[in-house]
Amino acid sequence: MSDIIERLEHILVDSTVKARGTSVAKRRRRNPTKPSAKWIAPARIGNEVGVALAVVLGTVGCSHARGDSGGCTMCSYLLDGDERSPTTDELLQQFDNAHSELTDETAPLSVKIYTSGSFFDTTEIPSDVRTKILARIAKDERIQEVVIESRPEYVTPDIMRETRDILGSRRIELGIGLESSNDAIRSICINKGFSLSTFKGAVANAKEYDIGIRAYVLLKPPFLTERDALLDAVKTIEDAAKLGVSTVSMNPVNIQKYTLVERLWRKEQYSPPWLWTVMSVLRDAWNKVGSSINILCDPVAAGKVRGAHNCGSCDESITSAIREFSIHQDISVFDSLDCDCMRQWHHVLNHEDISLLIHSRSRRS
C-alpha cells in the first residue's frame, strides 16, 4: 500500500498547488508596520482566568505553503502575509503595536504569537527579531504565559534553550500542528509534509527546556468520512496526550480561500464537520484523557456554511457550549443539547462509511 499512498501524495501536492493558483504571488500589499491581526480575549491561564493577547505577525508566510509542496489542503493563512518580507524594524513595530493593546490590563496575561507560519522559521522571522520580541515579553512582568506557533522542524534544541533563557520561568507553550497522529491521513488528506517522528522530536526538544506543547488537532480533513474524521480526531488527541503534550487545541476545518478543500467543497466533495461531531470529539477525548491535558476548541466560522455547522437552529447553542467547555473543561455543558438534526447526523455517520458518498448539505434535490 505504501507505494499507492506515495503516488497519491504526488497527486495531492499537484492538486494543492493548483488550488493555490496565483493567490500566493498575488497577495495584496499590506502595511508592514501593523500586524495582520490582533485581538484580546479572556482565557484560561494556568488555573486562573485572565486575558490573552493574540497577535498574527504579517510575515512572508509559511514556508510549506509558499513552496512547491503547495501547503496544507485546508490552509490559506499565509494569504494574511505579504509577498515581501518585512524588515526587522517593521516586524518589531508590528509586535509593539499589538503589545500596546495590553496597556490597561492586569495580570495574569498571556501572549500568543502567530505568524500564519512558523515563529521559529528564520526565513519568516530573522533570529534577531525573534530574540528582541521575546526580550520585550520578558520585560513585561504581567505576562505569565507565552504561546508560540511553529512547524516542528524548526523546534531545535538551540532555539528551545534560547527561548527558555530569555523568557525565564514563564509558562511557555509551543503550538504545533500535529493535525493527525495517523501518518497516512497527515500526508494524503492534509499534505502536511512531516511525519509523526518529526513531531515527536520537537516534543522532546521542547520538554528538555520545560516548554510545553500545544498540539493542534484537525477535525475532518478532506477524503475522510464524517465518522473516520471523528474517530481520527479522538485518536489523535489520545495519542497526543500519550506523547506528553500539555494542551490540545482541536480545530474543525473551515473552508478557506484558494485551498484544495475549497475546491472540493465547491464540487460538493467536501463538507465541513457537523457541530455534533465537534462535540462528540471533545466529549469522547475528554473522557479518555481529560484528566491529564486541557482540550480547547474555538471553531472558526461555526454555524456558517464555511465552518462546522449543524441544521441552523441549534448551531448557536452548541457553539457556545463548545466555547464554555474550552474554558472550564467540563463536559456536562453538552448534556442537555439536543435537536431534530441529530438523527440526520447519525445517518450521515453511518451512510458515508458505507457509501463513501460525501453528504454535502446543499445537493439533495
Binding site: 478532506p222 466533495q269 440526520q344
Partner: protein, 646 residues
Amino acid sequence: MTEFLIGRGHDGPARVGVYRMGSTKVQTPFLVGSPNTESIIGYATLGRNDSPSGGPMILAVPSPIHDSKSFISDAREDDSILLPSFPAVSFLGAEAAELMLESQLRFINEIQGMVDPSRLIVRIPRQLAPEKLASILAEFSSLGVRAASMLFDGWLGPQDYSVLSSRTMLPIDWLAIALGRISPSSIPFLFYLGFDVFDLGYAAESASRGVRLWNLSEESITGGILPRNCSCTACADYSDLRELDREKLHAVLLGHNLNIYQSNLSESVQSLRLGRLRWLVESMVHSSTAATSLLRKTNKSLFAFLEEFTPTSGQTNLSLIGPESYNSPTVKRFRDCLSSRSTPPEHKTLVLLLPCSARKPYSESKSHQRFIKTIERAIGAARSSVAETILTSPLGVIPRELERLYPAAYYDIPVTGDWDIEETEIAADALVTHLQKFAESVVIVAHVSGGYLDVVKSAEDRVTQSIVYTTDQHSPSSFDSLQSLQNTLNDMREVLSLKGGPPALFKDTLRATADYQFGPGAGEALVPDGAKLGGKLYRMVVCRVDKEQTCAFIGDRGSLSLTLEGGRRLIPLQRYWVRFEGRKLEGGSIFAVGINEADPRIRPGDEVIVLNNQDELIAVGRSEMSGREMCDFKKGQAVSVRHKVV
C-alpha cells in the same frame, strides 16, 4: 460462495435474477439499507456498527488509512464485502481514480485465502476513462470479483452520465449496485440501465429531515402547509402528520419512504415483465428537466448498450410520448435496420408517400382503406408496382410490406398534426436514405399534407427523383385530395407505363420481412422466385419451396418463423447463428452454459439458427437473450427451440 444468476426476461439492460449469498437466495433487483430485515438486505461498516446479525449483509471495509485487513474477520461467511476506498479522491482526476481501483486490487491480494473473491464488491470511482475502466475491471474479473458499486448523489441529472457510462463497462454477468443518495424516481431509470441493487439511504436521510418522498417531489412535513393525504400502510392512520410527536413522525416518514421505494421497485420489475419498462422510465423523467437531459444523453451516447439488451419483438402497445422516445432503442433500431437492411423490390417504379394512421396496421385504418381503394380504382393490378411508403414520427418511413412488424404495428404517438423540428429532421433523413434505394427514374408521389408535407419539402433537395404533390394542402383523405391522387396515378400509368402483374403483396412482404430480420439476402434465400405462398397476411402466410416449408409469416407479430429448411437456407449468410457445444440437442431449450459462440447481432426475441460444433444446423428457435449474454452467462435459457433435427 456468492453467485449472481440472471434470469429470464429483458427490457433494455434491466434484468431479474438471483443473488446467492451462501445458502440465502435473494431475488434481484433488491434494496439495501439498515436495519437488516426480511425485505431489505442490511448493510453496515465493519468495526463501526454492531456485529452483523440476522441474514447475510453487505459490509463495508473502512478506509485504507486504517489497517483494513484487520476488519475482515468480523464478516460472516455469507456476507458480501465492499472493498475499502477513499471518498472524493477520484475528483483529483483520472490518475487518482485509477489508484482507487489499484488499491482495491492490492487489498484483494492482501486478503487472499481469507475471503472468497466472489463475495467482494469493487467500488467504481468516477472520472475514469471507460476503456481504462474496462481493462482494470478485467483484472478484478480474473481474480473472481463479480460485483461492483457506483455512486449517485440525489435526483438524477447530466452529472450522472459518467457513472452510467461506467455501468456499461461492467462484465455483463456482474451484479451492479447503486449506492449513495438514490431518489425513488431514479429506480426505474437505474434498473433500466442494468442496476440490480439500490441503496435506501436516501429514504432514511429524508425521514430524518422530516421529508416525505414522492415519485415526483419531496414534501417537507413542517410549516403551515397541510400535508398530503396518503393511504400507504405507514401514513393511513394519520390525517395530519404535523400533529405527531418527533419519534412517531420519524417512524411514519421512514415507513412511507420505504414503501415508495418498494412500490417503485416492484412496478419496475412488473414493467420489465410486461415490456413496458422503457415507457415507465420515459414517463418518470418527464417530471425533471435534469433527468430528461440525462435520458436524452443516454439515448444518444449509450445507445449501443441500451439496444443490445432491448428485445426485438413485443406485443404490447408502445407509447412514444415525447422527444425522449425519438431515439429510444426500439425506435432508432427500427430506423437503422430499415436503412441498412431493407431493399425495395425491383418492380416498384412509383413511390407513393402516405401519412400514417392511428390504427395499426395502417392498411386496416379508414384512411388507408380509402387510399388503397383509390389506388386500385386508378391503376388496378398495377398497384404491385407502387411502393406504398408511410411517413411517420418517430419511426421515419415504413414500407407497406413492413407495416405489421414490431414496432411499426404497435407504436402510438400523441397526434396534434404539428411536428417539431427534430421529428421533421428524423423523418426527412429516413426518407432521403430510403429513396436513395430506388432508381432515379422512379417517380415519387407525395400524398401528404401538414407536417408530413414539411418532411417531404425538407428532404426534397436531397432527393434525386422527381416528386409530384397531390393534396394541395388539403387533408389527404379528403374527397378533393383523393380525386387528385386518382388523377395523378392515372397519369402515371401512362407516363411510367405501369402494368398489372401477378399479385406481389405476399412475396414483397415476406422478402422485406426476411431482409429486415436477417439482413440483406435473407429474402431471396427464404422466399426464392417460384416459392408458393398461401394464407392471410393478418393471420399467417406460409412459404413453401418445392413443397417444403421454409418459413411462415405470423400476422400478429409481422415477423417470420423459420423451419429447419429455412434455417439451412440462412447458414451461408452467417448471421443470427448460435453455436451449440455438442452434436445434438436434447430437450426444448438451449442453455447459455452450452454456448461459447454466437452472433453478437442477436438480441432477445430474435429468430435464430442453431449450429452444432460441426457447423450443421440442429435447430431453429427464438433467442431469450443477446448474443453476448449467451456466450458470457453460465446459466439461463439462451434459446427456445422451435424445431430441431431429430
